[in-house]
């Protein structure tokens, strides 16, 4: 059985999209096309990595988060902030000042998302003792989705443990209950540096429901904090909040943050292209002797998230410095163990393989043969002028009935030379793909 429900945090605004095709060329699962002058997404292939968002010059790809007003549906409004958020302000604002402003914006409590990391490290080290190696960290939801779609054979390597954000949320939910709060009054919100975390809250991979009530976009909150501080900085008292996160927790979301604390041989790889390259080799059985893989879709991991405004290298340095000032442990592992032990399995993770041709093997082979024939005729330039990211993708689209060979500009030229395709028809094809604006104005009606 394959999972059929997905939630995507990334949406294309067709009123803003100019059909420039930048997004199409960077998508690691080739889930984007251009047609009718707009970018189109095949939602089943999208992994919410956000590479498209990063390169869109028109800012037409938006992240769908929760409305900040939703927090007022709850009496207790808790915001979980990752250490990456503090890192966004460099040395200009302190943790106490930032949290002071957040409390002033309507949250009743601010907690740190990596509070549960110490406990999780013990659990991961226990987990890797008894599972097939290498264990692949499930920290980055874009990587988990990438594996489901492009590397279904590796799905069983993905660690089935909940992540710091979820573990911390459940801990504080229970903590509030112990303080006598009514469960329906407690709203826990996460401030996210990326779109993939939103998808992982709305549609978790595995057999469990996310304990998080809502997700707020870091870009938005960064602006709110700065604005609030500019306008009323002196009136907002900084809190006396002292961090409750250990050095290990604070640096967890940086590249190498996990492997450093894992028993055995671990590798940390960041950047989606690097991750894909490594997973290809792992799938070929070319990698031996590795116990743990920390794979992150973004360059520099979470400081490189698509919703982080500050330079990722500076942010990472700031977070590392903050972490170095903390104790190695926050002393919470025992308490987490007491309340959450046995409740951190995510259940079965299923593949979500891309059906490029057909589920029926006989039909699939026939279609693939057709696509190979087509590919041998196509120029191999991967120019994207057909509205598909590569000649291979165009060939696949054609056999699926979603494109035609005349969409290729080289085929058009070839046919035109032989008098097989009148120029007006070629123009019409290009207009269908790219919209009329890019092929020049329409002839004036006489």
């Amino acid at each position: 059985m394959e999972q059929q429900t997905f939630h995507h945090a990334l949406k294309i605004r067709h009123d803003v999209c100019t059909g420039c095709s930048h997004c199409m060329k960077v998508c690691p699962t080739e889930a984007l096309r251009v047609y009718g002058g707009k970018a189109l997404l095949y939602p089943v292939w999208c992994i919410d990595c956000g590479e498209c968002h990063r390169v869109c010059p028109a800012r037409a790809i938006v992240v769908e988060d929760d409305d900040c007003k939703d927090i007022f549906n709850y009496k207790h409004r808790i915001l979980l902030i990752p250490s990456v958020f503090i890192g966004q302000f460099g040395a200009s604002l302190s943790r106490q000042e930032i949290i002071g402003v957040l409390l002033n914006l309507g949250f009743t409590d601010v907690r740190e998302a990596e509070h549960g990391v110490d406990f999780l490290i013990d659990e991961i080290n226990r987990y890797i003792q008894t599972h097939e190696k290498p264990v692949i960290s499930s920290f980055c939801p874009a990587v988990t989705r990438l594996i489901q779609i492009r590397f279904p054979a590796l799905v069983d390597h993905v660690m089935r443990l909940k992540q710091p954000l979820e573990v911390t949320t459940e801990y504080f939910r229970q903590w509030y209950a112990r303080q006598g709060a009514c469960p329906g009054d407690v709203g826990i919100f996460y401030l996210t540096p990326c779109a993939a975390k939103i998808a992982s809250v709305k549609a978790p991979v595995g057999d469990y429901a996310s304990p998080i009530d809502g997700v707020i976009n870091m870009h938005y909150m960064y602006n709110r904090v700065l604005q609030e501080f500019q306008q009323r900085g002196k009136d907002v008292p900084p809190t006396r909040y002292e961090t409750q996160v250990s050095a290990r927790g604070m640096a967890w979301s940086l590249t190498g943050g996990e492997v450093r604390h894992i028993d055995g041989k671990g590798l940390a790889i960041d950047g989606i292209e690097n991750v894909v390259e490594f997973l290809e080799r792992l799938e070929n059985d070319e990698i031996a002797g590795v116990d743990y893989l920390e794979l992150r879709a973004c360059d520099e991991s979470c400081p490189g998230g698509i919703l982080t405004p500050y330079n990722r290298f500076l942010a990472a340095e700031c977070i590392r410095r903050n972490a170095d000032a903390q104790a190695a442990s926050n002393g919470m592992a025992g308490d987490y163990q007491k309340h959450l032990a046995g409740a951190i399995d995510v259940g079965k993770i299923r593949p979500r393989s891309m059906v490029k041709y057909d589920l029926d093997i006989t039909k699939a082979i026939r279609k693939m043969e057709k696509a190979r024939e087509l590919k041998s005729v196509l120029p191999g330039v991967d120019c994207g002028a057909c509205g598909a990211p590569s000649c291979e993708a165009l060939a696949e689209d054609i056999v699926r009935g979603q494109a035609a060979i005349e969409h290729c500009i080289f085929i058009q030229t070839r046919c035109g030379k032989r008098g097989l395709l009148p120029q007006e028809q070629a123009i019409k094809i290009m207009e269908k793909i790219w919209g009329k604006e890019k092929t020049g104005e329409e002839e004036p009606v006489s």
């Binding site: 279904p152 054979a153 290809e280 799938e283 070929n284 059985d285 070319e286 593949p351 393989s353 059906v355 490029k356 041709y357 057909d358 589920l359 093997i361 006989t362 699939a364 082979i365 693939m368 043969e369 190979r372």
Partner: protein, 138 residues
Amino acid sequence: MQLTFHVQGGDFTRAGDASSQVKKTLKLLNIAPAITKRVVVALYEAEVNIVAHAYRGVITVDIDPVRIVLRLEDEGPGIPDIEQAMQRGFSTASPEVREMGFGAGMGLPNILENADRFHIDSVVGKGTTLSISVNLQA
């Protein structure tokens, strides 16, 4: 459907190209991951054997809805004692080749383990031909 690959002896940096291509093809056809893995492992081992021992070789891969048949024909020194070569740990690889992580003597046994049908023919001084078949249905 048939795929063909040419392999150059001694070119370790490109050993694995054919198995990568075949893996990609089988994934696109939605072949079960466990079967794909068996095909890829068997092919990779056989491909490395050509690179390590032979002068050159041709790989043909036939895919039909029932099975996948790999045929690897090389021009090379051939195998004098096939029975011995099939034993785990038996290796004629040079220390240099072992240094690179190849030549542990697991190649042929590994192929046998992953194949539903396996046939090996070798003529000393001429070359070796492997025929490996993996069924798509259990």
